[in-house]
């Protein structure tokens, strides 16, 4: 396994209070695999991504426990020098807003060159990268600045910078959320193409399960700072094993689901300062029983490689209340 996150806990300070926003997350990514991490805003998914190379702002967040094993070494035990060796070289990032990821006063050429870490003539390599990210148009055009590109082309350039150093792992945090649908399609195709060509491992973080269902091999779903379900994509799509996942899938609008009310999840996600007792999803769960509020469930197997944090799922399936789809 290329990356293994074990029992990661992260505290965030807001004012004088500290809140645990990642409450013990386990996540693994194999070589050449795309792991999708789905969660709604404020569930802690971005913090998990940033924690991998200890990128979150120090005065706001701190990792309180856990291990992040990258090629067998614990990143959390590394010093700044070791981290620099990994950041941008072995693990790189792509964020939501391409324009704010690019420095407006440098040309695209200069920025890709910097990511390469090359001081001397790198034109050949840059041309190769530009070709692989579908920006053949600007090969040789060294005076192109970020603002001269469309949003989709900017995001291509950001991806180019992320893969320039031939990393092992790329963390993509909502990389297509700010883009139009047609451009989103192109960027997703590009990511898959690069992944196959370079045998990249990917952590793909998004709130949009349609995007994650499209691209990921394995999927984890996060709620209130913990993974509530995890498994291969086909399993999650056709046989979801947690009421939250089922609610999310039922909430996806589509033409097939015409003119019907959604079987929506009620209420809203809890605040980290006021987490409920027991299962954190239980106050919104339509299958809740008294026992759910007693103790937060552990992740348990529902089928091979498919785990769920729900005490009722086996019974519900056995009774046919939850069916595969």
């Amino acid at each position: 396994m290329l990356l293994q996150i074990k029992n990661l806990k992260v505290n965030y300070r807001s004012g004088s209070r500290a809140m645990e926003v990642v409450r013990g997350v386990d996540l693994g990514i194999d070589k050449g695999e795309c792991r999708g991490l789905i969660g709604e805003s404020g569930c802690g998914k971005t913090t998990v991504g940033l924690s991998i190379t200890k990128l979150m702002p120090e005065r706001k967040g701190s990792i309180t426990s856990g291990e992040i094993l990258f090629e067998g070494n614990d990143i959390l035990k590394m010093d700044e020098e070791g981290l620099r060796d990994i950041r941008g070289r072995k693990i790189s990032y792509v964020f939501q807003e391409p324009f704010s990821s690019l420095n407006p006063v440098f040309t695209i050429y200069e920025q890709i060159k910097e990511s390469l870490g090359e001081k001397n003539n790198a034109d050949g390599q840059i041309a190769e990268i530009l070709e692989s990210i579908g920006l053949e148009k600007i090969i040789g055009r060294k005076n192109i600045y970020p603002h001269e590109l469309s949003g989709g082309m900017q995001q291509r350039a950001v991806i180019g910078m992320a893969i320039a150093s031939k990393p092992d792992l790329v963390v993509l945090d909502e990389p297509t959320t700010a883009l139009d649908v047609t451009v989103q399609r192109q960027i997703l195709d590009l990511i898959v193409e690069l992944k196959n060509k370079m045998n990249l491992s990917i952590l793909f973080i998004s709130h949009d399960l349609r995007v994650v269902f499209d691209i990921a091999d394995k999927i984890s779903i996060m709620y209130a700072g913990k993974i509530v379900e995890s498994g291969p994509k086909e399993e999650i799509v056709s046989n979801p094993g947690h009421p939250y996942t089922i609610g999310l899938i039922d909430s996806v609008p589509s033409f097939e689901h015409r003119k019907k009310l959604f079987n929506a999840i009620g209420g809203r996600a809890p605040l980290f300062s006021k987490l409920p007792e027991g299962c954190k999803f239980s106050p919104r769960c339509r299958f809740k029983i008294d026992k759910c509020a007693e103790k937060e469930p552990e992740l348990e197997n529902v089928s091979t490689g498919h785990v769920s944090r729900c005490i009722r799922i086996k019974d519900l399936r056995a009774d046919g209340i939850i069916k595969g789809r």
Binding site: V181, L248, V252, E256, H257, R268
Partner: protein, 250 residues
């Protein structure tokens, strides 16, 4: 019945040298949900603001129940605003950060002076309940509310004048998917119960496909295809519509 008719409407932004809306014509029928789909910068939000006369058109006319909105007086327009309402995309930007939820709704009655002062509070509570919130929200400021709750208050404000026609400008685009489904349910339910007419703007074909009766596809300020949702989704005639549908994730 034709509730609204748009005829050759155009609007250019001279400073940016773009024609945001370029000779658009279409009818809106009473009681329908008319979808407007397009990518960013296609002019859909400008069209929404033109319809409500929040900005003025360069050319073209809008007829509401046969009346040309260009020709009616300022005070008649203020009165007509009761019939034409809007729900915005970003619930963070669409509420005055200094106003409590109750005040947002009560203000509508202050402006139209159509109900006595004592009743305002009761009407506000009633509307908050209609949108799935309750009396406890009366004194809450936007900063204390989640995105979904804010959007519900935006909807309550739009309902306060008992409108016939509501422009929903990307009302669920900035919401999480579980909240999006709740708000769509609310909008569908309100439309049925109050026999409302919506112009529903979205970039998301899934959302459009799930709730609209008819759909118009907009590109570079023009409507490139329109028709019943079934027809457009199953048998798209326009090249751009086809590429949109092909890109959509279902």
């Amino acid at each position: 019945m034709e509730l609204l008719k748009v005829d050759n409407l155009s609007k250019a932004y001279k400073r940016h040298r773009v024609t945001a809306v370029d000779g658009v014509s279409f009818p809106v029928f009473k009681g329908e949900i008319l979808g407007l789909v397009g990518e960013s910068g296609c002019g859909k939000t400008t069209l929404a603001k033109l319809l409500l006369r929040l900005i003025n058109a360069d050319k073209g006319s809008i007829f509401y129940k046969g009346k040309d909105l260009n020709l009616i007086s300022y005070s008649d327009m203020r009165n007509l605003r009761k019939d034409l309402q809007v729900i915005f995309q970003d619930p963070y930007a669409s509420l005055d950060p200094r106003m409590k939820a109750g005040e947002v709704i009560e203000e509508v009655y202050d402006i139209h002076k159509n109900i006595p002062g004592r009743e305002k509070r009761n009407k506000a509570i009633e509307l908050l309940e209609t949108v799935g919130l309750g009396e406890s929200y009366l004194n809450r400021l936007p900063a204390e509310l989640s995105g979904g709750e804010r959007q519900r208050i935006g909807i309550a404000r739009a309902l306060a004048t008992s409108p016939e026609f509501i422009v929903c400008d990307e009302p669920v685009s900035s919401l999480d998917i579980s909240i999006q489904a709740q708000i769509l349910n609310l909008l569908i339910d309100l439309q049925k119960r109050k026999n409302l007419t919506y112009l529903f703007i979205s970039h998301d074909l899934g959302v459009i496909g799930s709730i609209c009766d008819r759909v118009m596809v907009m590109k570079s300020g023009r409507i490139v295809e329109s028709g019943l949702c079934e027809d457009v989704f199953k048998h798209p005639a326009n090249e751009y519509t086809r590429s949109l549908l092909k890109s959509a994730l279902f």
